[in-house]
């Protein structure tokens, strides 16, 4: 013992203040934590969505409050060739772009999952399309698709002499449609590739070793091990990708504005076109509301696809 005196100290408990007690109450905490989220959702989601649905049943025009017309807008749209064409192109655009994005994205993810020498550099390059603002990349594509100054035409015609005349990318309907799909795929690949890469990296390498010992060829390892184990994340990424593509607006509006002869209108661009520049708010809203059933379908699909598979239930894999 060192001879220093023992200092006696007893902790003092203060009675908590009313405010402190309030913050200790669970119902109050729940309410106060939920409030900002509820507020944001109500102001920026529920109100515009409600307003849009309401407007779709009116004949509101810019500067003129409309009256309730029931389903008139929708009846009109059902006979509108431009609208029906937009519906068809939206579905086509979503389907083709999603398939291409997933094929290429999965391929890239599988490549990046191997031990490549400059892996991190490639990964950074792959992310580039995603971090570029959409409108900027749309303008870049606009130049790539320019009838006179297109680099693609220049290379094919002037350098490689494969074609004899410049391609009119955005001047004819099918050229324009495919050009937009290419731009969308280019923009969408990073999201798919990086998400699937994350999924691939959760698959234990020892499973591949076990499969190799079990006699699986590399294709069988992909089919029987990689794909089923990637399915949960694949379903999530697929749903998001479908939703994003279906509701795409920026790329199309910046590159073609729906032209030529309305052949590349998506439902979103057509809704905007009719509603704001065309001043027919009610009709535009009706077009936007027509997207809802499709989106609900995609969400339902995700609900069932994301739902846990039987093998995912229970403990961990280790």
């Amino acid at each position: 013992m060192s001879g220093a005196e023992t200092i006696s100290w007893t902790p003092v408990r203060k009675a908590p203040s009313p405010l402190a007690r309030l913050f200790d109450s669970k119902p109050f905490l729940i309410a106060i934590c939920l409030l900002p989220a509820f507020g944001l959702l109500a102001v920026f989601l529920t109100y515009p969505l409600g307003l849009g649905i309401y407007l779709s049943f009116t004949d509101t025009k810019l500067g003129r409050p409309g009256v309730w017309v029931g389903l008139e807008n929708f009846q009109y749209l059902l006979e509108d060739r431009v609208f029906l064409n937009a519906v068809w192109f939206t579905v086509f655009y979503t389907a083709v772009a999603t398939v291409l994005k997933f094929a290429l994205g999965l391929w890239l993810a599988l490549l990046l999952n191997e031990n490549l020498p400059i892996k991190s550099l490639i990964r950074a390059v792959i992310l580039l399309p995603w971090i570029t603002p959409t409108v900027l990349s749309a303008i870049a594509f606009w130049w790539i698709y320019d009838p006179q100054f297109s680099i693609v035409s220049y290379v094919l015609v002037d350098k490689l002499h494969i074609l004899s005349s410049y391609i009119d990318f955005l001047g004819t309907p099918w050229h324009a449609r495919w050009s937009l799909i290419v731009a969308n795929v280019w923009r969408g690949i990073p999201f798919v590739a990086i998400s699937l890469l994350a999924g691939l990296q959760t698959i234990s390498p020892s499973l591949y070793e076990a499969a190799m010992l079990d006699g699986a060829s590399s294709w069988q390892r992909f089919r029987k091990v990689t794909v089923p184990l990637l399915m949960p994340i694949l379903a999530v990424v697929l749903t998001f990708s479908v939703l994003f593509t279906f509701a795409d607006f920026q790329l199309v509006y910046a590159i073609t504005r729906g032209g030529p002869i309305n052949s590349t209108h998506l439902m979103a661009t057509l809704a905007f076109q009719r509603g704001i520049p065309g001043a027919a708010l009610g009709e535009g809203a009706a077009i936007a509301v027509s997207m809802i059933p499709f989106l609900i379908l995609a969400t339902l699909f995700s609900y069932f696809a994301i739902g846990q598979r039987k093998w995912q239930q229970g403990g961990s894999d280790e």
């Binding site: 234990s204 020892s206 499973l207 070793e209 076990a210 190799m212 079990d214 006699g215 699986a216 995912q312």
Partner: protein
């Protein structure tokens, strides 16, 4: 079934040499255990036998056929990996039948082989479960079932028990040994646990730093370790080493003398390391004086940590010892079971 020959196998990852020329012969039907501290190259060697790593130099032959350039699936081996590597999206049945499905075996054959393996391992009621619904020991058994279904020439086990708790480990140890006795398939088993090696093996290969230190039957290794490393590695608690010199036909350390083991004892004045296993100390009033530091009764025996001439030794007495820390205990080694090593080379002298 087949014998496995490993002939002067070397392996380097980059500039790091992992294996420096390892040669092991495993006879047909034998249970061989590769044991050593982590990083000694035992797992790499096993993975080379399985075909998961390329053989750098040297040869590996299974059943007389050199397999250096043979794909894993054509080597006719089955391997149980450390983390079991069960396919999480397949039921126990599908996990076990996977290799058969890949080989396009008829359904009836698959069914028959899976149920036989399930019967051997007592997995019958679990066949429709998924791996996540199984306990550690059950997963371990499924991994073994997957190996049994293939009817391989050689079983390879890579630390299969290291993920299990102590009690289950002892139980599974017994099951694996029992399995081997029933199937008589050549088995190569990797572990860092010398008790597993001692209890299961027909033949132990002790490895360290990418070299084989000694190959032999468990008790041979225990009774006549070839060098200081094996002497210290095999046995628990490990062998006591006392540093001293040879003097007048006895071992001298400090001012104490201990009798030398029979055999060539080394010349007078030579520095030696004297090894005594804990259980080979006896209480002996005529023995050397030791100061008791710690007494640990385990019931079946009493372990005493004591100090002789400033060197710490562990003794395990069958009888109950009532000595208390600080007291003096007179002990002497069982001279027939003492070991003498050359401290410079680490090799056994007697």
């Amino acid at each position: 079934m087949a014998e496995v020959s490993i002939r002067d196998v070397r392996k380097a990852f980059g500039t790091t040499q992992i294996l420096h020329g390892v040669s092991v012969e495993v006879a047909d039907g034998e249970f061989a255990v590769l044991v050593g501290p982590s990083g000694c190259g035992k797992s790499t060697l096993l993975r080379m036998i399985a075909g998961l790593e390329n053989v750098g130099r040297g040869e590996i032959a299974i059943g007389g056929r050199v397999v250096n350039n043979v794909a894993p699936k054509e080597r006719d081996i089955a391997m149980v990996l450390q983390n079991y590597a069960l396919y999480p999206h397949m039921t126990v049945r599908d996990n076990m039948a996977f290799s058969l499905t890949l080989a396009n075996a008829p359904k009836a054959v698959q069914e028959q082989k899976v149920s036989r393996a399930a019967e051997i391992l007592g997995l019958g009621s679990l066949l429709d479960r998924y791996p996540r619904q199984l306990s550690g020991g059950q997963r371990q058994r499924v991994a073994m079932g997957r190996a049994i279904v293939r009817d391989p020439q050689v079983f390879l086990f890579d630390e299969p028990l290291s993920n299990l708790d102590a009690k289950l480990r002892v139980q599974m140890r017994g099951e694996i040994k029992d399995l081997h006795q029933r199937l008589r398939t050549t088995t190569i088993y990797v572990t860092h646990d010398q008790i597993e090696a001692m209890t299961m093996a027909d033949k132990i290969v002790v490895m360290q730093g990418g070299r084989v230190e000694q190959i032999g039957a468990p008790l041979d290794l225990y009774d006549r370790p070839a060098n200081l490393f094996v002497a210290g590695f095999i046995g628990s608690p490990s062998m006591n080493f006392l540093k001293g010199t040879v003097q007048n036909g006895a071992f001298r350390f400090g001012d104490m003398m201990l009798p030398l083991p029979p055999g060539p004892g080394g010349s007078d004045g030579m520095a030696v390391t004297y090894g005594v296993r804990p259980e080979h100390w006896r209480l002996d009033d005529a023995g050397v004086a030791s100061i008791v530091r710690l007494v640990e009764p385990t019931g079946s025996e009493t372990q005493v940590v004591a100090e002789i001439g400033g060197q710490r030794v562990i003794c395990a007495f069958r009888e109950r010892v009532s000595a208390r820390p600080g007291e003096t205990l007179h002990i002497s080694p069982d001279v027939m079971h003492t070991h003498l090593f050359d401290p410079s080379s680490g090799m056994r002298m007697a």
